[in-house]
Symmetry: C2
Subunit: 333 residues, 2 copies
Amino acid sequence: MRRSLPSLEQFVQGIRASDRVLLGQAITLAESAREDHQEISREIIRQLLLQTDASQAPALRIAVTGAPGVGKSTFIEALGMYLVEGGKRPAVLAIDPSSAISGGSILGDKTRMERLSASEKAFIRPSPSGDSLGGVARKTREAILLVEAAGFDTVIVETVGVGQSEIAAQRMTDLFLLLLLPGAGDELQGIKRGIVEMADLLVVNKSDGERVKLANQARAHYLNAAHLFPPKPSAWTPRVMACSALENTGIVELWASIQEFKDHVMHNGFFQENRRQQAQYWLEDALEAGLKAKFFKHPGVQAKLAELEPEVLAGRMSPTDAAARVIGLLVIG
Amino acid sequence: MRRSLPSLEQFVQGIRASDRVLLGQAITLAESAREDHQEISREIIRQLLLQTDASQAPALRIAVTGAPGVGKSTFIEALGMYLVEGGKRPAVLAIDPSSAISGGSILGDKTRMERLSASEKAFIRPSPSGDSLGGVARKTREAILLVEAAGFDTVIVETVGVGQSEIAAQRMTDLFLLLLLPGAGDELQGIKRGIVEMADLLVVNKSDGERVKLANQARAHYLNAAHLFPPKPSAWTPRVMACSALENTGIVELWASIQEFKDHVMHNGFFQENRRQQAQYWLEDALEAGLKAKFFKHPGVQAKLAELEPEVLAGRMSPTDAAARVIGLLVIG
């Protein structure tokens, strides 16, 4: 039996009323590869954005990353529960391009955030799958708009911490938080070059028990390193902090720093300017991806390519000539 | 007074007869940003490829790179003159994306290859200018087809040796030759990571006078390093040699190695397979660049974008929604 989809009206009203089932279904539509699903999803988001009260304070979008083993899930659970207890409504999304390959997303196992998953005030969604980081990132970005429309005021975007997905996460968030292990240097932590410099907050996790001393060493190391970072366009000086998600220490101070960051960038206008630049980037990204998808999937284009490609591969026709002939099929109406 | 262009027939016949003026003009058309020039250029190349005798031995395309100061011009002059004296016809092209910015291309100053420039048997062309490496590389690739149609049998593509242009050069050549300085290691030579591993031939230049000892040290160092390179798809083991372009020593041995490389890859089929893969790459590259250029330059698309972009930047419309509306203008005929 195939159930019919809720109506556009039902989706829009349901999401605005924080209906978690409808929210989940809408995200599924945004993640779908089917053009009809994409169309409904775009319309839902369109209606939701039209109904958004422009005077309302925007949600804060936080990227959380760190090497495997740094305790991201435990950390996000601790931070999320702290927010829930303070009356906030956190949503946790993820960008994990490996999830399509490994079959298991970093957030797939909800038991890793047992308390937060059970909370009525929180929303957790595993990474969308997709054939490319670009596809996964675009889907996560739509999910951000949906959870915000449902009233979640703090959006945490988790990434795996070892590559390009951090750059995608930074391009859709307001604050970049890097989790670190006590003791070890960048190389040992498996952190790619450039990621440390992206961080607004560097947080040494697992600062508990016998590891407190090592955590303090790591903190001192990164404090020194932070002095050498190039100045950020936000004019924010990165902070280096320590916490224990396990023992729930340092979370209050961390949240205070996050608030200070937000005040800083709201006050100097970087928050707004950054959001504009991000929107510009994602517009270009969506235009390019959409243009290529529509053009190269067209049967006429595929037929023309099938005719000319062998000529090019055999060296009898230049790539530029063949490309011009294929692009000749493009009409703009 | 504006002279009219030679006819298509004049271009094709002239280039096949090695008319250097018409060859130069045809390259200028290939480099032009004007669509009508591009169209003539594609037609010239199309006719030339159709008239190419498939049984004729293909020209050998050689990428030559190395850090500034390594003596690329002197080396290319020495190798080129050796080829001319042996009855070969070398053409020298360049990929230098910085030439648009600095105003001076690496080959702009022909006096740096005084003897080769004066030779009837050789052809030297400075780097095309362009706003992007992609554009510069595409133009150089068209120039390769033109000089080959004019009968030049050895095409040397020179790059600046410090970045992405080496990858573009490798994608349009059969052999990658890296010039090295006596003594200094990779880092000191300013060679980017990964470039050394790309080389089929590593040539320590300036092995003359007091530098012979240092050159031998460098050769030993790179011989050791070459053992650690990952195996190449060509199944060719990189060679490390020394030469002095100034004293004209080592050039004979170098050319013998180049011939051995060519025999090796012709015999095991890599030469042909690599050319096919390169053609595939450049076809995709030209399709993508051409599609974007045609679509985004269209007044209707620009008008639609001008209408929707402010909505996206203000956060009132999602990038995906706006992109879908713009792409809706695309029709395939």
